[in-house]
């Protein structure tokens, strides 16, 4: 007699019920947004303020995976922690083997296959998170989404979690008609996300979260990560060429961006 220990089994209609449930958990999670720029990727999330007594500083919403990769999630934070730990291990093992951190594609494929395993392995449930991964491929920025099923996509800009549809519509509108803040540019020019600056993208993300998510948007309720090239000979970078770096914005930096939009 053999037993089936997998919790994720097919329904009669050909769907995996647990995957649907995991996606429902994702849709309940706080909204996360990502935008790919010309030389940058910005990812951010709106931290839910369930209680004013919670110290938001203790939560890690935007995680640094390695020098050139960062990620953010919507869904269950404990599940995200597990994925972050696995992602960091994958990145470090890759570096040990190849002498450099993995390109985003490689890390995404490996994380996605971890997610897939958790839909088929016995005795486990799928991860209750969708994640956005910011990284570089071949020197060009990429933004990926990985779902609980192990499905992954590459986006120019996207949103996950609560109100994701509304937020994506907002981003679509912005993509076609983002008017540059700089007066030197011709206002009529249609600016696609690929041509915007890092500040533009951060602005768009904050506006999207302001417009589409619940609750007030302040430096305490936002977590933003930026992937870009840090210039040579800065931040302990001894290289003579710009190297990719992923950083979380400090509260004062977020405050500055909020002030620009006000």
């Amino acid at each position: 007699m053999s037993y089936n220990f997998s919790l994720t089994t097919f329904l009669k209609k050909g769907e995996l019920g647990q995957i649907g449930n995991a996606l429902a958990a994702v849709r309940k999670g706080h909204t996360s947004v990502g935008i790919r720029g010309k030389n940058t990727v910005v990812i951010a999330t709106k931290i839910s303020d369930e209680s004013a007594l919670v110290d938001n500083d203790s939560l890690e919403h935007v995680a640094i995976i390695c020098d050139n990769i960062g990620m953010v999630y919507s869904g269950l934070s404990p599940d995200f922690r597990v994925l972050v730990a696995k992602a960091r291990k994958i990145a470090q093992e890759y570096k040990l083997d190849m002498g450099e951190y993995p390109p985003a594609t490689i890390l995404v494929k490996k994380i996605a296959s971890v997610c897939q395993e958790f839909t088929q392995m016995g005795g486990v449930r799928p991860f209750g998170v969708s994640i956005l991964i910011a990284g570089f491929d071949d020197g060009k920025p990429s933004l990926y989404q990985v779902d609980p099923s192990g499905l992954y996509f590459r986006w120019k800009a996207t949103a996950i979690g609560k109100h994701y549809e509304k937020t994506k519509e907002f981003l679509e509108r912005r993509q076609d008609a983002l008017i540059p803040k700089y007066p030197s540019r011709v206002v009529k020019t249609i600016i696609h996300t690929e041509e915007t600056t890092e500040a533009d993208d951060i602005g768009t993300i904050i506006s999207a979260l302001k417009e589409c998510s619940d609750g007030e948007v302040t430096e305490n309720s936002l977590s933003i990560g930026v992937l870009n090239f840090s210039p040579p000979n800065q931040n302990f970078n001894t290289s003579t060429v710009p190297v990719p770096s992923f950083k979380r914005l400090s509260k004062s930096e977020i405050r500055e961006h909020l002030a620009l939009l006000a």
């Binding site: 040990l96 083997d97 190849m98 450099e100």
Partner: protein, 204 residues
């Protein structure tokens, strides 16, 4: 006698201006007895990336197989050409994994990077990397090769001059080494193409 000297070998890699060469002798022996006169020890990894494996012939073949396996998997997974520095790290790890029962082989990597910059790297049999701006030598004739390369190498040689220097270094080094020789193969790697030359050496 060390086991690394059982079959005999001589390998040299040299850098030039936007080019590299890597060459080896063709002898396979069992100590003083010559078994084969067409045993090459430099292998193509990619069009602009070669690896030389001086040392015990059985390990040369096994390592070549394992490198080919890893590089083929890399090609499929990453859908891009492996770079010389990544290959060096990969081989170095492969060797260190057998730290206490090593492959008796000291690989030499030669190729052009993505930006067509010359790259050469050597390592010992447990994978300790050693880089040099000019040349890297290995095998039973390595002492002779050091001497020849010190005398013949100049900075910024073009492909033709570099080929001549490396070939002369190799042929003259193996003539003073009983364990290697019997002709040589030299690969000249330039951004446009890689050319392979088979050299006739002393057949004794």
């Amino acid at each position: 006698m060390s086991i690394t000297q059982y079959n005999g070998s001589a390998i040299v890699a040299m850098t030039g201006k936007n080019c590299v060469v890597i060459g080896c002798d063709k002898r396979l022996g069992q100590q003083a007895l010559t078994v084969d006169m067409n045993f090459e020890k430099v292998f193509r990894v990619k069009d602009k990336l070669y690896v030389g494996l001086p040392g015990l012939a059985t390990d040369v073949q096994t390592l070549h197989d394992r490198i080919r396996y890893r590089v083929n998997m890399y090609d499929l997974e990453e859908e891009r050409a492996i770079q010389p520095d990544n290959l060096a790290h990969m081989i170095s790890n492969m060797l260190y994994q057998k730290r206490f029962g090593p492959y008796f082989c000291e690989p030499i990597i030669a190729g052009l990077t993505e930006k067509d910059e010359p790259y050469i790297m050597g390592m010992d049999l447990i994978g300790c990397l050693s880089s040099a701006p000019d040349f890297i030598v290995g095998g039973t004739a390595s002492d002779n090769l050091y001497g020849m390369c010190e005398a013949l190498w100049e900075p910024d040689l073009g492909p033709d001059d570099l080929f001549r220097s490396a070939s002369q270094a190799l042929l003259n080094a193996v003539d003073r080494d009983a364990m290697s020789g019997w002709g040589a193969v030299v690969h000249v790697i330039t951004p446009e193409k890689t050319e392979t030359y088979h050299l006739q050496g002393r057949q004794d």
